[in-house]
Subunit: 253 residues, 2 copies
């Protein structure tokens, strides 16, 4: 029994952001498990069995992949972006923790990828150029009170903020609630960007301010970045302004 | 005048973590600017002029690169990791902001890379599997009071914390000061990892707790991760324990 499990980040979309490590590993595994739209990015090849699953069944997907690895298969579990950022690495470890003890003997490796947050930041300039935090607005697995507490703490620390999972069909309200909290705790002039599907065909970027932002611009494919008090716009002669959170912090207090 | 400037992330070290986008662009520019150890990672080739500079002269490096681009060259500025995370993207935008207006007409593009934080997280399992923040402990450009405020806010929000630039020869004390603050605001049982030079030959990982950690394990090449209240260890039959910050948050309050 020489099975192994690789938790692989595919990056935000285009092949130019897939690491050689991930591409090389995907070319050699026997089985790949993932949310169907991520599997659709992979070239079919003989000897590769694909196991597509729905969104929001991460634990079941992880369990199926671990069972296959325990049966001696060489298995990949894929995530968009980075598997360590609101993605499959945690789900796989949770499944091992609560699973049969033999799963703890498996060779498990996490292969990092470019995250949606980094792709968005690159497109926008340097919005995360100083201290920042990443918060998922999904309350499927954590209480909204915690999310609110974290938004308030992020403002207390004057972090730039990347908001993951800002809205879905089942949760259209949370990004509105989050913006209400943010507007109570951060100046309205803070730059805000809605970066949708960065690197894909339907990429769309909108830059505004916290006071003027329309939260309904955010959907499942959007990464929202809220600037810190020092974040400012850099106007250019061609193209939209860039966001800059400078390295220097001039203490007002 | 058709100069362009690319701000390129080389990833944490090994070529297997360099994106195809970055590799492709580096194969086509005429000039590359960077801190000498990062330039040393690039294969020499005819037609590529390398401009090595020292650490801590980011603005001067950015200005030189922008001047070359304005003179019609195709220029890369390289960072280790991701250029958007405590690296050259912000410095380049700052230089444009305070530079001649013609620099605002240049084609400037940021190419994301795998960050040190992600490489460390991948090696450790899933320590950043829920909300997290990234804080640089360098007070070269920001007051220590702000860093302390951000550490306290990160604890108030119960974020997992990635600490960049924990220590250098000139700043051996800050990681000790930071741990003192963290120990006042977070339970001592929180898992802590020192991930040094991940992906490179001298990689070294140490897993401990906030109460027991020896801050002097951190140096310039170390990324320190401090777990949240929910972060726990996952023991395995082979190898060191993994860190897991689960997706689910059981609210104590």
């Amino acid at each position: 029994m020489s099975g192994a499990l690789y938790v692989i980040g595919l990056g935000p979309g285009p092949a130019c952001w897939l690491t050689p490590e991930a591409a090389d590993r995907l070319a050699r595994v026997s089985d790949v498990y993932g949310y169907a739209p991520y599997l659709a990015r992979l070239e079919p090849r003989p000897g590769l069995a694909r196991h597509a699953s729905d969104n929001r069944v991460e634990i079941e997907r992880a369990q199926a992949a671990l069972a296959a690895a325990a049966a001696g298969r060489s298995v990949a579990v894929v995530s968009g972006g980075d598997p360590g950022v609101f993605a499959m690495a945690a789900a796989v470890l949770e499944a091992i923790e609560s699973g049969p003890s033999e799963w703890r003997a498996l060779d498990v490796e996490v292969l990092p990828g470019v995250s949606a947050m980094q792709a968005a930041a690159a497109r926008l300039g340097a919005p995360l150029g100083n201290d920042f935090c990443a918060i998922s607005l999904s309350d499927n697995l954590k209480p909204w009170a915690l999310i609110e507490r974290r938004l308030i703490a992020a403002c207390a620390g004057d972090f730039a903020i990347a908001l993951y999972n800002p809205a879905s069909a089942a949760r259209p309200q949370q990004i509105h609630d989050a913006f209400r909290v943010l507007r109570d705790h951060r100046a309205g002039a803070a730059p805000v960007a809605f970066a949708r599907a960065v690197g894909r065909e339907d990429e769309r970027i909108a830059v505004t301010t916290l006071a003027q932002a329309d939260p309904s611009l955010a959907d499942m494919s959007t990464l929202v970045i809220v600037g810190a008090s020092t974040t400012r716009l850099l106007a250019r002669q061609a193209g939209p302004p860039l966001l800059l959170t400078p390295r220097r912090y001039e203490a007002p207090a």
